[in-house]
Symmetry: C2
Subunit: 180 residues, 2 copies
DNA sequence: GCAGTCAGTTCACTTAACGAACTTAGTATC
DNA sequence: GATACTAAGTTCGTTAAGTGAACTGACTGC
C-alpha cells in the first residue's frame, strides 16, 4: 500500500527497500540482467500487470537505474538498458540468490547455476570483508557512527529519527536479559 | 496488494522476494540483527504498525527465520531470536547496504560504518566469486541450467513456467538488435 | 490507586496491485 | 484491402493489504 516512505531515513537498507518499491522491481531487474530489454519481453516473462510494469519502468528510469533508449522511429519503440547504478545492483541479486538457493528450494537444488567466466567455474556470490577478503558473519561486525561512537539503542533511535519521538521512553528502564 | 505468489517459481530471487513479503521485513531483520528482540522495541524503532509487525513476526517465525522464545512467565512475554536461516540472511543486508551507501545518500556519506572485528578495519561487504575470490560483475557471469545448457530466452521462459503459457508466442519472430 | 509496560488484537480507511480490455501506429499475410 | 499481429503502453473496476489509532489484559513500580 505504500504510504510509509523510507527514502529519507538515514539507513541504506530502508532507502533501498523504498527504492525497490515492491517485489516486482528486483524481478524486473533480473529480467533486464538476463537480457530482456523490451516492455513486452519483460511483461510476458514475468506475467506482471502491464500497468504495474509501466509504473516500475518509469520509476527505475527516473531513479537512474535504467535508461530508456529509442531503437526504432516509426513507430517509436524503446528498450531499457542498465546504467552503472543498475549494473551495480547485481551483487545484491547474487546475495539474494545465494540465500534463496540455500533455504528456499527444499531437497531440489537451485534452478539456475552461475559460471564465472573469469575462472571458468560454477560459482555463487559470497559476501566478504572488502579489506581482508574473509567472510563477514554478523558476529564479526560492529556498527559505528561516523564520529566513532557505538550506536546503542538510544543513540541509534535518535540517529534514525533526528530526535526522540513523542511516546518514546526517555530512558530504557526494565532489566534486559543480555544472556542468551 | 500481494496476490501474485512467487513462492513456487523456480527462481531464488522470486522466492526470496515472496518470502520477504513487504518492505518491512528486511527492516525488522535489521532491527533484530541490531539487537532489538522484543515486540515493542522493534515497533518503536521502526514506527511500524503493531498489527503489521505482529503479522511479520508470525510469518518470520513460521518460516523459520526467527525463533519465539519465552523470557518471562507471568505474564508470558516473548522475544525473537535469529535462527541459522535468519543469521544467514545477513550477507543480503550487507549487499543491500553497500549499494544504498553508494547510490542513495548524495554527497553525505553513509550513516553507519561497519567494523570487522576479524581484521579491525572499517569495511563493507563485497560480493565475490566463491571459487576464485575475485569480484563478480554481471559481465563475467553466465547462467546455466543444471543440465549444462544455456538458458536462452525461450528455454528460460519454459523453465520458469514449466510450459509455454496461453498467449505466449510459439516462436520469437522479430529481429532483435543484438549489438551493443 | 495510578501510571506505565509488554505483546499483541480489532477496526475503519485508503491506496495500490490485479486483471482485462482498449489504444495507436505500424508490419505481415492472404 | 481486410485481417492478424506486434509493441508499448493507458484506462478502469475490483479487492486485498498496509496504515493509524484505539483497545485489551496481565502484570510491575511508586
Amino acid at each position: 500500500m505504500r504510504r510509509t516512505s523510507f527514502s529519507q531515513w538515514p539507513c541504506s537498507i530502508a532507502r533501498t527497500m523504498d527504492f525497490l518499491g515492491d517485489w516486482w522491481t528486483p524481478l524486473v531487474l533480473r529480467e533486464v540482467f538476463f537480457g530482456s530489454t523490451r516492455f513486452d519481453d519483460i511483461q510476458r516473462a514475468l506475467s506482471i500487470g502491464r500497468n504495474v510494469l509501466a509504473a516500475r519502468l518509469r520509476r527505475l528510469t527516473a531513479e537512474g537505474v535504467l535508461r530508456r533508449d529509442r531503437y526504432q522511429d516509426h513507430p517509436p519503440r524503446y528498450e531499457y538498458r542498465l546504467t552503472e547504478k543498475g549494473r551495480d545492483f547485481y551483487p545484491v541479486l547474487l546475495a539474494v540468490t545465494r540465500w534463496g538457493d540455500r533455504w528456499l528450494h527444499g531437497s531440489k537444488g537451485p534452478p539456475i547455476l552461475l559460471r564465472h567466466t573469469g575462472c571458468g567455474q560454477i560459482t555463487r556470490g559470497e559476501v566478504v570483508c572488502e579489506r581482508c577478503r574473509k567472510p563477514l558473519p554478523h558476529a564479526e561486525v560492529m556498527a559505528e557512527l561516523p564520529n566513532g561512537r557505538k550506536p546503542d539503542l538510544d543513540v541509534r533511535i535518535a540517529a534514525t529519527y533526528g530526535a526522540p519521538r513523542a511516546g518514546a521512553p526517555r530512558k530504557r528502564p526494565r532489566t534486559r536479559n543480555l544472556a542468551r
